[in-house]
């Protein structure tokens, strides 16, 4: 095909790193972790009237979970 003859890095958007998908995945794990467990903590807060402590614990747990997920899912070379 005619397009095949171009050198692989001809400039333009093709130079965007192909690991872009992994980057977004990592970001969504880190943010998602905080949001999910923060939300669960917030629910627990409202349930038990703990005044924000459960939300804090949830956010920290979620951060830890997000980091574990990034390491486990994306850390090992394929």
């Amino acid at each position: 095909m005619a397009g095949d003859q171009k050198p692989p890095s001809a400039g333009g958007p093709g130079d965007y790193p192909s690991g872009a998908g992994q980057g977004w995945t990592a970001l969504s794990y880190l943010i998602g972790g905080m949001l999910v467990w923060g939300f669960i903590g917030w629910l627990v807060d409202h349930w038990l009237d703990t005044g924000g402590i459960a939300t804090g614990i949830g956010v920290v747990l979620g951060m830890a979970g997000g980091i574990i997920l990034v390491v486990r899912r994306l850390g090992t070379p394929t």
């Binding site: 005619a2 397009g3 998908g21 977004w24 467990w37 830890a64 574990i68 899912r73």
Partner: protein
Amino acid sequence: MFGQANVLAQGQAEFPPSVSDFYLPSILPWGAENSFWFTKITAMVWIAVGILIIFFLASYRNPQLVPTKKQWFAESIYGFVRNNIAVDMIGHAGVRFAPYFTTLFCFILLTNFFAIVPFFQISPNSHIAFPALLAAITYVMFNYVGIRHHGFVKYFKNSLVPPAPWYILPLLIPIEFFSTFLVRPFSLAVRLFANMFAGHMLLLVFTLGGFAMISANAWLAPVSVLSWVMTIALTFLEFLVIVLQAYVFTVLTASYVQGALAEEH
């Protein structure tokens, strides 16, 4: 469009621009209030679809071994998406997704590009409906492909249960569910929409701001000119964003399909 130009010339344009500037007047019925069935946005989407169909049909109607210019262009786009997106992200199994990815890439690229084409000057993708539908197609596609490849139970086990000791799984599975099945379509749609929305808004602010200043006080004319120069510079920035967002949307779709097809981690 020409009404817009008149308004600008008379210095009546509202400043600052607002969301209502994205809701263009109805074309059919002409000028009707609060009728959004056929507006400039609708027309642009159909024009984009028409251009793409005609272009690809015409450039492949009479294929040559030594490609003509048009054929070379069409083949370059397809080759770029197939080799640099589909095969790069998914591998050999990606070739069968290349036609859809090419359609997706071209459609987003063209509809985004309307944002800086004179007289079009707004992208349909600055209305969230269009990115949302495209993201929904991606969402259905990667789930369907994954379920068909792995079977229902194995697919969800693959995508929800990370390789980790059992005692932290309760912590991880909700995060996996959230980031794979809830955030993905949302972020895909919002990323494209917000980029096109913000781009159009920026151009509006700098163009209308120039008019607002020059009609408020003639001494501000140099600042107005500066503002319009900024508009031109931002148009080039817009072009970068347009190409990048079309590329990112396609790459992320490919990456989700790849994730759905991946074997156990």
